[in-house]
């Protein structure tokens, strides 16, 4: 049996979902018998591959970089999984939405800075007007809420997907779990 290709990507999130993924612990060995991890902040491949079977996305879509990344990821992924509340609901990153970008950027780069307060013009991708959940931008196949979803929930969902089943998400996790 050829192995499935698994990728994980990290948008606007705290990396907690990736930590929870690692908390699968020794079951990771079981998993890598069935899948190859072809792209992830946890491994060293630099470019997103052409054809990925399952991609887990952590984080909300907050800036221009996230936006371009998620579109590319979607185009090259068969099953896209929104992993965790930030990807599913926009969660904590969305708390800036009621205030608007200008106020948020000023607060971060001017009001709270003592040394040379200034707005960034290079290297930092521009923020989108609103932080949005992943399904607001591209089609998502499975939503796995939780902040973060437990390792057990991630593992159970992955096993189901690898075996070609639809995971019973409501039985595994919930918003804020």
């Amino acid at each position: 049996m050829t192995k499935l290709k698994l990728a994980t990507v990290w948008l606007d999130g705290c990396s907690g979902c990736h930590m929870s993924f690692l908390d699968i612990d020794e079951r990771l060995l079981e998993l890598v018998e069935k899948v190859d991890i072809v792209y992830s902040p946890l491994v060293d491949f630099k470019a997103f591959p052409d054809a990925v079977d399952i991609t887990l996305v952590e984080g909300a879509v907050s800036n221009q970089d996230d936006l371009e990344k998620i579109k590319k990821v979607r185009a090259h992924t068969r099953l896209l999984v929104a992993l965790g509340d930030c990807a599913v609901t926009a969660n904590v990153p969305s708390m800036r939405n009621p205030f608007g970008v200008d106020q948020v950027v000023k607060r971060a780069y001017e009001e709270n800075v003592t040394l040379q307060p200034q707005l960034p013009t290079q290297a930092v991708p521009p923020l989108l007007k609103r932080v949005r959940p992943v399904h607001d931008i591209v089609t998502v196949d499975v939503h796995l809420p939780g902040c973060p979803p437990s390792a057990d929930a991630i593992f159970a969902a992955l096993v189901a997907l690898v075996e070609g089943r639809t995971p019973d998400v409501a039985a595994l996790t919930r918003f804020g779990a």
Partner: protein, 239 residues
Amino acid sequence: MTTPSQVLTLKIDGQDVTGRADETILQVARENGIHIPTLCFLDSLSPLGACRLCLVEIKGSPRLFAACVTYIAEGMEVLTKSDRLNKYRRMIVELLFAERNHICSICVANGHCDLQDLAREMGVTYVDFPYRYPRLGVDASHERFGLDHNRCVLCMRCVRVCGEVEGAHTWDVAGRGIEAHVSADLDFPWGDSDTCTSCGKCVQVCPTGALFKKGVAAAEMVKHRSFLVRLTAMREEAE
């Protein structure tokens, strides 16, 4: 003419059941172990029919009925589960999430919240409606309690418990439509209220993290509601 105490027979989900003429579909369903999801309804408070989660189908009518405010009738055939009902109940739950800013992960009620439970029951794992992200405040003016409008679902449990059980009538709903919000007295800060007795009943009956005790951290606000049934039973005995 039916009298309030008359016993009527009807069918709920195909099951033959009986109830008194002054009972609602929800009451009779519960007496017979048939579960209907609810949010605004709370035993011992007057039913309101605000949230519409308890919608049921009644044979012979294209309309849907709120089970908590619809009285039973002789020969009625009620359906509490169907694809159509599921669709609407899911939609209601999703709209409640989309309407205000529910960030469960940092909510005092996380893990003890009726809205979260409903989402789970309905299998809502994401919200298909665009979130509104309104800019809403937190009223922290009361010495012991707080009101976070971001998490209010306008069930009016607080309004009813305060008026009907405590007899203080501090809470009301001010504004219309999307502007509607619970308000203390004449839309004053809660801490300035002349009528609030600080009994905390509203905090306990609130289904979400909207009303909370100060000093609790995320996921710590466990609500205790057994007082309500006890209090009502004692009052009925006294009458």
